[in-house]
């Protein structure tokens, strides 16, 4: 067992979201939900983060940004797509500039549904991501050997 699940640091990126999901992500940090009690920190720096939380859909403008943030993160890393927009494009799906969900550009490990996703659902998504993180860590060792 590694210490990864005990200290997940996340970086949050707001793709073209309506800000509804972002406010719910920030709500997780407030005294009511306080994700720091699980060791979760909103670290704001991709190089230090383990979990990439994306809200909102992918469009031509932010495609490269999402890819860039993902590439800068150190292994093992997981991606959590929060909200209907991030999972599939949501209400913006039909827009001329929208490509769809985050999985169009980077591999997504956990999909959190909802419009907006509730803080409980986001925390649950992050907790599920921890399992994936641990799994990836084990496999990372194998590849290295």
């Amino acid at each position: 067992m590694s210490y990864l699940p005990k200290s997940p640091w996340l970086v949050h990126y707001d793709a073209s979201s309506c800000n509804g999901c972002d406010i719910e992500v920030l709500a997780c940090l407030t005294p009511l939900y306080d994700v720091e009690r699980f060791g979760v920190l909103n670290i704001g720096n991709p190089k230090h983060a383990d979990i990439f939380v994306v809200t909102g859909s992918v469009n031509e403008q932010n495609k490269s940004v999402i890819k860039n943030i993902y590439d800068q993160m150190a292994d093992p890393k997981v991606v959590v797509a929060v909200g209907a927009c991030a999972t599939s494009g949501g209400v913006f799906r039909e827009c001329y500039n929208v490509q769809g969900g985050v999985d169009k550009v980077i591999p997504v490990d956990v999909y959190v549904p909802g419009c907006a996703a509730r803080p409980e659902a986001i925390i649950d998504g992050v907790v599920q991501a921890l399992g994936v993180l641990e799994e990836k860590y084990k496999n990372m060792g194998k590849v290295a050997k």
Binding site: S2, Y3, L4, K6, S7, W9, P31, D34, E36, R37, F38, G39, N42, I43, G44, N45, K47, H48, D50, Q72, A74, D75, P76, Y137, M140
Partner: protein, 285 residues
């Protein structure tokens, strides 16, 4: 201190300081959370963080950065070793400054704009706190007539009574040293939007873990200096150090960040009034 005892003190320091420093940092996060009305992370959280960082992939931007970070850690450890072996306080302070220089060079070596801003602000911080640190050592020398920690620690009267101004001045710059608001301009334990993570932006994995451990060593050393102000009674000295740290947490949670100009200006004014004032008073007596 005899050679054997000094060696023992150094070994105890090297083994115990990271444990104590980590625990202090864990309690810090818990108390901060409680002050904000949150439940807070477990006390052992800083250790989980460091162990996790050890397991992460290490992204290196410049192959020399590893060497600089290693030097930073080693010189911070040497600083504490000199101090707890009862050696020259002035030498310990200079070793700490050298460690900071390695830290800054490491940040510069990454060529990242955020690390650059962080490194520049880190230098401003050194400029801000260094006069007061030197005045603290000078004040201690004027009272005890020795730069050796062992002589200062075994001085029969508490230094606090002859150096109240210097003590307050030292408390002031401790906020800068501990990287607490309102003086956490170069980096802090929280994300800052405009500088990302400042000096440590480009370090990941093991290097970040080493920086964190170095800060634990540094904090124990700084609290050791606080203890020196009441060294004639070790229990009161430790209580004084803990109260000091609590005060820093309190200040941290009640202030927003200042600009670097205010950091530099206020630190120098405090050094001038409290530090120089105290020393002038001692000289006139």
């Amino acid at each position: 201190m005899s050679g054997m005892n000094a060696l023992l003190a150094v070994i105890l320091y090297i083994v115990l300081a990271p444990i104590i420093g980590g625990l202090i940092s864990g309690v810090d996060r818990k108390i901060s959370a409680r002050m904000q009305g949150r439940y807070g992370p477990p006390i052992l959280q800083p250790f989980y963080d460091v162990f996790k960082l050890m397991a992460k992939q290490n992204i290196v931007v410049n192959k020399h950065q590893k060497f600089y970070i290693l030097c930073f850690l080693i010189f911070v450890i040497i600083t504490g070793a000199i101090f707890f072996a009862g050696g020259d306080l002035l030498l310990a302070i200079f070793a700490l400054t050298l460690a900071s220089v390695f830290f800054i060079v490491a940040a510069y070596s990454t060529y990242s704009p955020y690390a650059y801003i962080g490194a520049e602000r880190e230098m401003l911080q050194i400029m801000a706190y260094e006069p007061m640190v030197i005045l603290t050592v000078v004040g201690m020398y004027m009272v005890t007539k020795s730069f050796n920690v062992i002589d200062i620690a075994t001085y029969d009267q508490p230094l606090l009574f002859s150096l109240p101004g210097i003590f307050l001045g030292f408390l002031f710059i401790l906020t800068i040293k501990f990287r607490k608001s309102p003086f956490d301009i170069s980096m802090s334990h929280h994300a800052h939007q405009e500088i990302v993570r400042g000096v440590i932006t480009e370090f990941s994995g093991k290097e970040l873990a080493m920086i964190e451990i170095a800060h634990w060593y540094e904090n124990v050393f700084l609290l050791g200096i606080v203890c020196l102000f009441f060294a004639s009674n070790p229990i009161i000295a430790i209580i004084l150090a803990l109260l000091t740290y609590f005060l820093e947490i309190f200040i941290d949670n009640n202030n927003s960040r200042l600009k670097w100009q205010s950091t530099l200006g206020s630190a120098w004014i405090v050094a001038l009034i409290l530090g120089v004032g105290n020393i002038a008073f001692l000289a006139l007596l």
